[in-house]
């Protein structure tokens, strides 16, 4: 059972970015202009520590979120998708004219029980 998933289209873009940039990580951003979006960076670019929660691995890329933010997100299942767009952040897909986007749904009761035991 996983907290996160990725669409086939988004997975294809992750593959492309890995070929170009090497090892990557996803970090879910908080609010403001280009926020509330998953961002993808070169693995060494972002300093992670115990304030970041690891949610799972998508196409070999670890997905993290700030711990405080996770408190509000922990009841939701996330799917990373991709759409046309523009962004001012440093996320690596932006030059392709694309943005990763999060689709969310509430965890099912079974999932909720499963993750609360973890």
């Amino acid at each position: 059972m996983e907290r996160i998933a990725i669409t086939a289209e988004a997975a294809e873009i992750v593959k492309q970015l890995k070929e170009k940039h090497g090892a990557l990580i996803f970090h879910q951003s908080g609010g403001c202009c280009d926020g509330s979006s998953p961002m993808i960076f070169e693995k060494e670019d972002m300093y992670l520590d115990e304030s970041d929660v690891f949610l799972g691995t998508l196409e070999g890329v670890n997905f993290y979120m700030n711990k405080d933010q996770f408190e509000y997100w922990k009841h939701t299942h996330l799917t990373v998708g991709i759409t046309e767009g523009r962004g001012a952040s440093f996320s690596l897909e932006i030059p392709l004219g694309l943005r990763f986007i999060i689709h969310s749904r509430l965890l099912t009761p079974e999932e909720e029980t499963f993750f609360s035991k973890k």
Binding site: S36, Q69, R86, H103
Partner: protein, 498 residues
């Protein structure tokens, strides 16, 4: 009155060292209007080498610019203000086209405020002075403010020329040179401004580099040749920029997200008068600028004994919002800035519904007539509770979440139950509440019986994860300066140690 899309050239360059230059790699990106997805123009898809060129120019100019008199710098800032004012309608149309916001906002709010911010900092730099203290009869401590040198600035797309006008004037007034990257969604008004003020400042003082965050933004933020970075945007990028700055031991200022509470106490309904009318408008201000404001009052908290009556009025007022072409002066809520924002907002409305929020009005995209060609969202009110994700995350759209509270303690508790602390609104006729409640809210700006006013001379910035630094105020000058302390002895006699 109705305006139409302004004219643009086919393509524009970066503004470096006092002139427009093509990007070194020759690549451009297409900038489109969110109103109808039509092409505006091509802008440089700059890379690190373009940023280096801008940094060369800024570093070459910083000595002489840093030594100009405050008189001279203030005069140039005032000249920019005059130029913006003389071309107000042209700038307003360009920002409406680029961002999708209603023309009545750019004409009456964005651009007039730009003019005022330039003038405010021109005045500040003339009026303020350093300090001197005689520490004892033989020792004088003198504080002289010096510019940092070269400042990197990365600005967002929600108020294109206004965000530039918050950032540039204090940096220039204090004698710094700047490399600024406008948001790639809205590069046009910064370019138009450079066309009009190309000769105002010496070459290299202002440099504008267009492009995408990872390609043009990161080289500015991580360069060892900038002395400070000022950023407005979201938290993850803010965190990255601070990491880069830590390597260079550079100062930064950050204006990040918000999830601002707008609190209505029961006394607002003590009378059905002009004040109540103002309070209802104050709740509906969530839709101002399509909700694309870091301080969007995106959580309405209403005291339970007036909840039903008050919300009925708020829903009626929201349903009366006119959403049509942003070029029409009757338009109140325009288009979201881009497709990804448009989709993100709709996705949030859906998660709100899934979490059990009730849709009081709106609830999705507006595809009426010509609006179907652009990114229009109906102003939406969701009713729920503060633990729902739609209450906690910045949606950055015309979507507000409403909940009720019992008493002052609960209002404060809900208001502060957020990661952010940028803005808040407090509405009450009670003289005690209008002082005590704002003091209890952990946010940098609390509007009391008003909202969404951003005058120069009132400091603006965040608590908590909303960042730090205070813009729009004389205190911003010190975010762009060093303090040189000269410790001077009058004493002719030696210490006697050696």
């Amino acid at each position: 009155m109705s305006y139409s899309k302004p004219e643009f050239k086919a393509s524009y360059g970066n503004f470096i060292n006092g002139k427009f230059v093509d990007p070194i790699g020759g690549a451009y990106f297409e900038n489109t209007s969110p109103i109808d997805k039509s092409l505006i123009a091509k802008y440089p898809r700059s890379q690190k080498e373009d940023v280096e060129l801008a940094l060369d120019a800024a570093n070459a100019a910083k000595e002489s610019w840093g030594n100009t008199s405050a008189t001279e710098r203030a005069a140039l800032l005032n000249k920019v203000a005059d130029i913006i004012e003389a071309n107000l309608e042209e700038f307003a149309l360009v920002d409406t086209c680029d961002n999708g916001k209603p023309i009545r906002e750019t004409l009456n709010a964005d651009i007039p405020l730009c003019v005022d911010h330039w003038r405010y900092f021109a005045a500040c730099i003339r009026a303020e002075e350093g300090s001197a203290t005689e520490l004892d009869s033989n020792t004088l401590s003198m504080n002289i403010k010096e510019p940092l040198g070269v400042v990197g600035q990365i600005i967002p797309w929600n108020f294109p020329l206004l965000m530039l006008s918050w950032k540039l004037p204090p940096a220039l007034a204090t004698g710094n040179c700047v490399v600024l990257k406008p948001a790639e969604q809205t590069p046009s008004s910064a370019t138009l401004l450079m066309e009009k003020i190309a000769d105002v400042f010496p070459p290299g003082v202002i440099n504008i580099v267009h492009g995408f965050g990872p390609e043009a933004g990161k080289p500015i933020a991580s360069s060892s040749r900038v002395d400070k970075v000022a950023f407005t945007g979201e938290t993850t990028t803010g965190q990255l920029i601070m990491q880069y700055a830590s390597k260079n031991l550079n100062p930064v200022t950050m204006e990040l997200g918000g999830k601002s509470p707008n609190i209505f106490f029961n006394s607002v309904m003590d009378a059905d008068d002009a004040y109540l009318d103002k309070a209802i408008e104050g709740a509906v201000l969530f839709a101002f600028n399509q909700g694309e404001v870091c301080t969007c009052p995106s959580r309405i908290l209403v005291q339970e004994d007036i909840y039903d009556k008050f919300m009925e009025r708020v829903v009626t007022r929201t349903e009366a919002i006119v959403q049509n072409s942003p070029y029409d002066s009757s338009c109140m809520v325009g288009a979201q800035v881009s497709n990804d924002q448009y989709e993100k907002i709709q996705s949030y409305i859906n998660i709100g519904k899934e979490e059990g929020a009730k849709v009081l009005c709106g609830g999705g995209a507006n595809k009426d007539g010509d609006l179907a060609n652009g990114y229009f969202i109906k102003p939406t009110i969701l009713e729920g509770h503060n633990k729902m994700r739609v209450f906690q995350e910045e949606i950055f759209g015309p979507v507000v979440c409403v909940t009720k509270f019992k008493d002052e303690a609960e209002a404060i508790e809900i208001a502060n139950d957020t990661l952010y602390g940028l803005g808040a609104g407090v509405w009450t006729r009670d003289a005690h509440q209008l002082y005590q409640i704002p003091r209890a809210i952990k946010a940098g700006r609390v509007w009391v019986n008003c909202y969404h006013a951003y005058p120069a001379h009132a400091p603006f910035g965040g608590y908590k994860k909303s960042g730090f630094g205070r813009e729009n105020h004389v205190m911003m000058l010190d975010h762009y300066r060093q303090t040189k302390n000269m410790l001077i002895s009058y004493d002719k006699n030696k210490l006697g140690f050696f």
